[in-house]
């Protein structure tokens, strides 16, 4: 059981309203026994210095707001145990996206890629009165896909996404693409595959697997991407 202790931080700070350029701030904070997660410590820090800016909401790992780069690895502040981290705890914004302020990044490009895969069920049959049937086995195909919280830990840890954020869909978007390809209720398989048939959109994934390593929900975008590639190959023959 952790007790009162002081924790050292090194935090990326940048306020375009007053700073010419970003800098790393050394700061420490005394934590209470009840402070267990990195987010608890950040809230404590913010009570001390209200200029520290970060996104947060659910504090239980389902909303995806508080993704950041923690000691060099992307993760959610609310699911990261503060006492498990080497000090000074170094916090930076998610890499590869424009920084708005402190650890807050501009996620426009990330969401643009998500939207580009048509992230909604396409089924043009007239809607029946009741639910469309789906067997438990077919439904199970969606496990490990639908749970994505769009935190962007994966895409912003992916070198391919860093180089081509405008052209490569990235692991989060491709995971979503496969979520619909794998859904027996969806009818747009060939349209979805056409949409990804491109040197960049899908094929920039080189199975580096950083996405798998950082996903706070333990999802596996690389595996989903592999399955999309299989579908491409199968339809080509």
């Amino acid at each position: 059981m952790s007790s009162k202790r002081t924790v050292q931080f090194k935090i990326y700070r940048y306020d375009p309203d007053k700073d010419d350029k970003p800098y790393m701030q050394d700061i420490s904070v005394e934590l209470e026994e009840s402070d267990k997660k990195l987010l608890d410590a950040l809230v404590r820090l913010k009570a001390k210095d209200d200029t520290l800016s970060f996104r947060r909401s659910c504090r239980e790992g389902v909303c995806g707001s508080d993704a950041m780069n923690i000691n060099g690895k992307n993760g959610l502040a609310c699911l990261t145990g503060v006492d498990e981290l080497a000090q000074p705890i170094t916090l930076r914004p998610l890499p590869g996206l424009p920084v708005i302020r402190d650890v807050i990044v501009d996620m426009t490009q990330f969401f643009k890629q998500y939207h580009s895969i048509k992230p909604y069920l396409i089924n043009n049959d007239p809607a029946p009165e009741r639910e469309r049937l789906q067997s438990p086995e077919d439904r199970e195909e969606l496990n490990g896909l639908y749970e994505c919280i769009l935190c962007a830990c994966c895409s912003t840890s992916c070198p391919s996404f860093w180089w081509n954020p405008d052209k490569f869909v990235g692991p989060a978007g491709l995971l979503a693409a496969y979520r619909f390809l794998a859904d027996t209720r969806d009818q747009a398989t060939s349209e979805r595959l056409d949409n990804l048939e491109d040197p960049y959109r899908l094929f920039r994934c080189h199975s580096i697997m950083n996405c798998v390593d950082v996903c706070p929900k333990n999802l596996n975008p690389t595996k989903a991407i592999g399955k999309i590639k299989d579908m491409m190959v199968r339809r080509a023959v």
Partner: protein, 597 residues
């Protein structure tokens, strides 16, 4: 400061379940709609709902809407309006099936239908045996639902203003609503959103309490805005304490755990709910279970070294069931309680969870206020749905899974009403009053210039501790009275908040100060309404109103079968009758009775 003006047919504030469901109606009808949201839509708190959404589909046990209606009225301790409740339970199948058509990944029964599990207070045959009515996607129903609704809105090309915080409601001299002011968080600029219709879907304010299952963003923004603009708040004394928040952390553990067979145990390992609710036991309604747990703890039968919690035990379930039906709960337990529920029980305590009261509406989603002797007169141009609204379907106590149903049914109803009013030409773009943004600009200017002020974090903490102590699971006349005095003092301090951060860009200190203005309205409404209600009903249980033969469950129907209305101006209370007559002439009202489970 210059103020930009945007004009829309409709503006929706909030992009959780209710806002997104309403937005779909408007977008698909071709209305020019702006959806303002202070977080990216899928980060809204609907995402944290776990156990399911109620609908009497009858996929695994026989069910019908009459039973659902009975359970909901009884659950509400008869404070729910029976017309709105009838409307909601009858619409349940339709809105849930729609979600399935939108792509929501519900779990499935062996024959491919939507999987349903039992939930607290839901029964077959008017209270006799538990029924499987909760339509679930594992224990991530809210996440699956919110993403499906957002995705459908992407398809419908809904226009979102993401990370814009609504500040104040704009009303003209007639009291009609003409839109809102809002601040873009990235630039700090204030804009006016001028619209023919304004829908509030801003969620609850669970953050008025110190210990809450709610997200940081649940600061009652719409409720506070409405109160400041002269709209009364209904039944704010009724707050749901969820029986199973993780002890110490407050994070929610779904009632679906008990739906799947979980059992609450005290220090001696006893299944104590058998004593309090012999029939439904651990699946009694939430107010009943939370009180039973608090009684066990107060009488020294709590667990742990401080005897301050009870245990939720699922070690008798198979690891397969836990991993298949409750995977998120297992994650949460390991993360926040340090316990793998396959091996050991989870420490839990009743934790503030849901706001039953809110902005008064009818079942069409129109905001209604008393006027010229009539209790429920619609405010032109103003609509509300979801947790921020009070239709009232939950009355004094909400049943689990009825909140997701509420936001679907009334999000859609509000949307339909707006579309109808728009098409019939009833909605007009009335001219903006001069200086429509002045109130908002003054709030920002005050924060800019305040010196020798109060610390936002400190004042918020004081408010949360006051609410926790003075308006908890069990309530006492003297403690509530003291609470009213204290919360008024906190409210005075909140008028003088000061922030160090003066940046225009993503100034979260300013956002939190503005949120505190909203929280304070809710806290005042709660404390004052609670102190005034001299009976026990649902989640509001007073020590001096015990269960007697004359007043079953401590309820005093003769004097208190009425809705509270709290007005911010003058801190004034009023009351209005409960609608005991269902919507349809051929539906029998559910007669008043003692509540037992």
């Amino acid at each position: 400061m210059k103020v930009a003006k945007h004009t829309f047919d409709a503006v929706i504030v909030g992009a959780g379940g209710a806002g997104l469901r309403a937005a779909l109606q408007l977008s698909e009808a071709g209305m020019k709609t702006a959806v303002l949201t202070k977080v990216f839509p899928t980060r809204s708190h609907t995402v944290a709902a776990q156990g399911g959404v109620a609908a009497s589909l009858g996929n695994s046990t026989e069910d019908n809407w009459h039973w659902h209606m009975y359970d909901t009225v009884k659950g509400s301790d008869w404070l729910g309006d029976q017309d709105a409740i009838e409307f909601m339970v009858k619409k349940a199948n339709e809105v849930v099936v729609e979600l399935e058509h939108y792509g929501m990944p519900f779990d499935r029964t062996d024959n491919g239908k939507i999987y349903q599990r039992p939930f607290g207070g839901h029964s077959q045959n008017y209270g006799q045996t538990p029924v499987s009515r909760s339509c679930a996607a594992a224990d991530r129903t809210g996440h699956a639902m919110l993403h499906a609704l957002y995705q459908r809105n992407v398809r419908a090309n809904t226009q979102f203003f993401v990370e814009w915080m609504a500040m104040d409601l704009i009303r003209d001299a007639d009291g009609d609503v003409l839109g809102v002011t809002a601040m873009e968080m990235e630039t700090g600029e204030v804009s006016i959103f001028h619209a023919k219709a304004t829908i509030f879907a801003t969620g609850g304010a669970g953050r008025i309490y110190y210990s809450s299952t709610n997200a940081f963003i649940n600061t009652g923004d719409g409720v506070g805005m409405a109160a400041r603009a002269g709209i009364p708040l209904e039944d704010m004394e009724f707050w749901q304490f969820h029986p199973t928040g993780v002890a110490g952390a407050g994070v929610l553990i779904t009632e679906g755990v008990r739906g799947e067979g979980g059992i609450l145990r005290n220090a001696s390992g006893e299944r104590f709910m058998e004593r309090y609710a012999p029939n439904l036991k651990d699946l009694a309604s939430r107010d009943v279970v939370s009180r039973a747990m608090t009684t066990e703890i107060n009488e020294g039968r709590g667990c742990g070294s401080a005897k301050d919690h009870v245990l939720l035990d699922i070690t008798h379930l198979s690891p397969e069931t836990i991993n298949k039906r409750l995977p998120g709960i297992r994650e949460i337990s390991i993360q926040f309680a340090g316990v793998d529920p396959i091996k050991a029980p989870i420490p839990v305590v009743p934790t503030c969870h849901y706001q039953m009261g809110g902005i008064p509406t009818n079942y069409k989603g129109q905001v209604v206020v008393p006027k010229d002797g009539q209790p429920n007169v619609p405010v032109a141009g103003f609509y509300a749905a979801g947790e921020c609204a009070c239709a009232s379907v939950h009355g004094a106590n909400r049943l689990g899974t009825n909140s997701l149903l509420d936001l679907l049914v009334f999000g859609k109803a509000a949307g339909e009403t707006v579309v109808e009013d728009f098409r019939s030409g009833q909605l007009t773009l009335k001219p903006l009053p001069e200086n429509a943004a002045d109130v908002s600009l003054a709030r920002i200017a005050r924060l800019e210039s305040q010196t020798n002020g109060e610390d936002v974090h400190e004042v918020r903490l004081e408010m949360q501790r006051t609410m926790q102590k003075h308006a908890g699971v069990f309530r006492f006349a003297d403690i509530m009275k003291e609470g009213v005095t204290k919360i008024m003092q906190v409210a005075e301090r909140a008028k003088r908040t000061q922030i160090k951060d003066k940046s225009k860009v993503w100034n979260t200190a300013r956002t939190e100060a503005l949120e505190l203005d909203n929280l304070i309205e809710v806290a005042k409404a709660t404390m004052v309404s609670a102190e005034a209600r001299k009976e026990s009903r649902g989640a509001h249980v007073r020590d001096d109103a015990p269960d007697t033969a004359e007043h079953p469950n401590g309820r005093d129907d003769e004097n208190w079968l009425k809705h509270t209305l709290w007005f911010s101006e003058g801190n004034r209370l009023d009351y209005k009758p409960v609608t005991l007559q269902p919507m349809s002439a051929d539906v029998e009202p559910i007669a008043l009775a003692k509540r037992t489970y």
